[in-house]
């Protein structure tokens, strides 16, 4: 059904289409990773393809192959009802984090899928608007879905985040901080107890007014 798409891709890009197959009935094109973005945009805009539904994006790790990783993109066309799988092979022995173009500018839905692939597989998407970990936490070491990541590995303990957190959509000086309130939650903190004895309200804020004297 999506043979027409494969033909359209071949006629437009020629050499950049490295391989095509239809194993188990799923039409697949393995493409040049340098043309990844162009081919994706062609698939969305060309009327023969019209792949306007973003379905899935993931990475696969083949530790024995030379381009070690595969980025796999599944697309569907709403009007024509055909599907295609697009693959690109990236990464070699020297690069820790292989790179490929992001398709988020083409399909907004790719945003979280690319973040997930970056998080779990360690593939960097160039041009992604907000590439940070999504399922694990920022201090996480390694990329758990890689084959060389042991499944029983224990992650190191992380420090309690002491600075007020700011996240990507928020600039560093935007908004009120919502870090820990220093008053009530630190009753047992030695630094806090010490500063209370000195009569300071917040040990981290030298400008803070001293606590009012206790009424006897």
């Amino acid at each position: 059904m999506s043979k027409a798409v494969i033909e359209a891709l071949k006629s437009r890009f020629g050499e950049a289409i490295w391989d095509v197959h239809a194993q188990f009935g799923d039409d697949t094109a393995v493409v040049d990773p340098d043309k990844w973005f162009e081919i994706a945009r062609f698939l969305k805009t060309d009327p023969r393809c019209a792949m306007n539904m973003f379905v899935d994006l993931c990475g696969v790790d083949y530790p024995d192959r030379d381009p070690r990783f595969e980025v796999v993109l599944h697309l569907r066309s709403l009007e024509k009802g055909h599907r295609i799988r697009l693959k690109a092979r990236i990464g070699d022995a020297d690069t820790e984090l292989p790179e490929i173009d992001s398709v988020t500018p083409i399909w907004g839905g790719a945003n979280w899928f690319e973040r997930e692939t970056y998080d779990l597989m360690g593939i960097v998407f160039r041009g992604h608007p907000d590439l940070r970990r999504i399922l694990t936490y920022p201090e996480f070491k390694g990329h758990p879905l890689r084959k060389d990541y042991p499944a029983n590995l224990t992650q190191p303990l992380i420090k309690f985040r002491d600075v007020p957190e700011k996240f990507a959509p928020f600039g560093p000086d935007e908004g009120m901080s919502f870090g820990r309130q220093t008053h009530e939650f630190h009753r047992d903190d030695p630094q806090m107890i010490e500063s209370r004895k000195k009569g300071l309200r917040d040990p981290r804020d030298p400008q803070a007014k001293p606590l009012p004297p206790k009424e006897s």
Binding site: F24, V72, L78, G109, L120, L145, F170, M176
Partner: protein
């Protein structure tokens, strides 16, 4: 503790002009599932938002790579834990597509029946929880009572209420019980009665309607762009249903309608789910009528399906078969496949890579929730704090599925 502003005169207090940041979740009564929404507020209007998921990440994809193919079932069960049977069926179909086998007709009908029951559970939970978060507790209890009726069927059939692990590659764990059809036929009208009754409570309720109508609107183009599928996509007016567009199992033999919305707001999503429950009941009715009463449940292939227990204990072939399947796993031909079914929330896809051994090389789960939840950010910007609750509820984010 000392009051914070004891030393301030009231006249010195000023209203802060800064935008305020607020943290909703990860553990919040109105956030079913654990999700954290960081919002920046100007007054009560949301100016920026960041949705953070991952609090329920349990590494299922990694776990699936460690066992054999049949050992993936407990993992896929726990993806969408409200409708685990749909995940079981989806995964079975994916592996069977690779093996190139088709299960007997009786199993196909059985899978459809169990799947549609699970879909009813899923929609009941979503709509019930959504009503509860808006303060309507009674409908929630009624919905859950209806769901409990269906879970009783599942308990009879599979032995477990929620996480059944009932699917197997090449069939099911057990044949349907003798009274399966009668029980379902008796239960469905009761469930539909509850549905109608609850609708009476909700759809004439001004508060409920005001908080749903024209809130959280998503256009058709945006929904497609974001990779939405399932009831949320249909609520925007796109009649895309995997059961109709790419029929699998025996869905092409049933008559059913695909409900679509017009505006894509919370109310449309609510009503789409309500109507889909009725359509599922229609499918169930036809399915039970057509389902054969006897016949094999599993395919006749000793390399895929475990032999009957009496053969394992009495014949050497049975023992060896059993040993090879349990110890080495099913040998799935090397290659890759993407198989998709209509899950509770939309297209549930499995992208499987096999290297020819008994263990999967990669099990990629395409959770429908994941694509749907990422839209929340742009849906709530510009809205108000109370709008987050119905909008989030109508997306039916299932933590287990979204966070893998």
């Amino acid at each position: 503790m000392e009051p914070l502003d004891q030393d301030l005169e009231e006249g010195e207090l000023e209203m802060p002009a800064d935008p305020m940041m607020l943290n909703m979740g990860p553990s919040h009564p109105a956030m079913h599932g654990t999700v954290r929404i960081v919002v920046e507020l100007s007054g009560e209007t949301i100016t920026k938002a960041d949705v953070q998921i991952g609090y329920l990440h349990r590494g299922f994809e990694k776990m699936c790579e460690r066992g054999n193919w049949n050992q993936c079932y407990p993992c896929v069960d726990r993806l969408n834990y409200v409708s685990p049977m749909l995940n079981n069926v989806g995964f079975s179909l994916a592996v069977e597509k690779m093996l190139g086998v088709t299960v007997p007709e009786r199993t196909q009908y059985y899978r459809v029946a169990l799947g549609e029951l699970a879909r009813i559970c899923d929609h009941l939970t979503c709509n019930g929880a959504m009503a509860m978060e808006l303060g309507a507790f009674t409908p929630f209890l009624w919905y859950v009572r209806a769901r409990e009726m269906i879970w009783d069927i599942f308990e009879e059939e599979t032995g477990a209420r929620v996480t059944h692990s009932f699917g197997r590659v090449g069939g099911m764990a057990k044949p349907p019980t003798a009274y399966f059809k009668d029980v379902v036929r008796a239960t469905i009208p009761r469930v539909l009665a509850v549905l109608t009754e609850s609708e009476g409570l909700l759809l004439k309720n001004r508060i409920f309607l005001d908080r749903l109508e024209n809130v959280g609107k998503v256009s058709k183009e945006v929904a497609l762009d974001l990779g939405w599928t399932g009831p949320t996509l249909r609520s925007t007016g796109v009649p895309y249903d995997v059961r109709r567009a790419h029929p699998y199992l025996v869905y092409d033999r049933f008559e059913f309608d695909i409900p679509v919305g017009t505006t894509g707001d919370n109310f449309d999503r609510f009503m789409c789910r309500q109507e889909e429950i009725r359509q599922s009941a229609r499918i169930l009715e036809q399915c039970l009528d057509q389902m054969p009463d006897d016949g094999p449940i599993n395919i006749d292939d000793p390399r895929v399906v475990l032999p009957p227990k009496e053969e394992v204990y009495s014949t050497i072939e049975g023992t060896i078969q059993h040993f090879k399947i349990v110890m080495e796993g099913i040998k799935v031909p090397a290659g890759e496949v993407y198989s998709y079914t209509e899950g509770g929330n939309g297209e549930l896809g499995f992208y499987l890579v096999s290297d020819g051994s008994g263990t999967p090389h990669r099990v990629r789960i395409r959770p429908p929730c994941f694509a749907i939840t990422q839209a929340l950010e742009r849906m709530i910007v510009g809205a108000m704090i109370p709008d987050i609750v119905p909008t989030f509820g109508s997306l039916n984010m299932i933590g287990g599925e979204c966070d893998h």
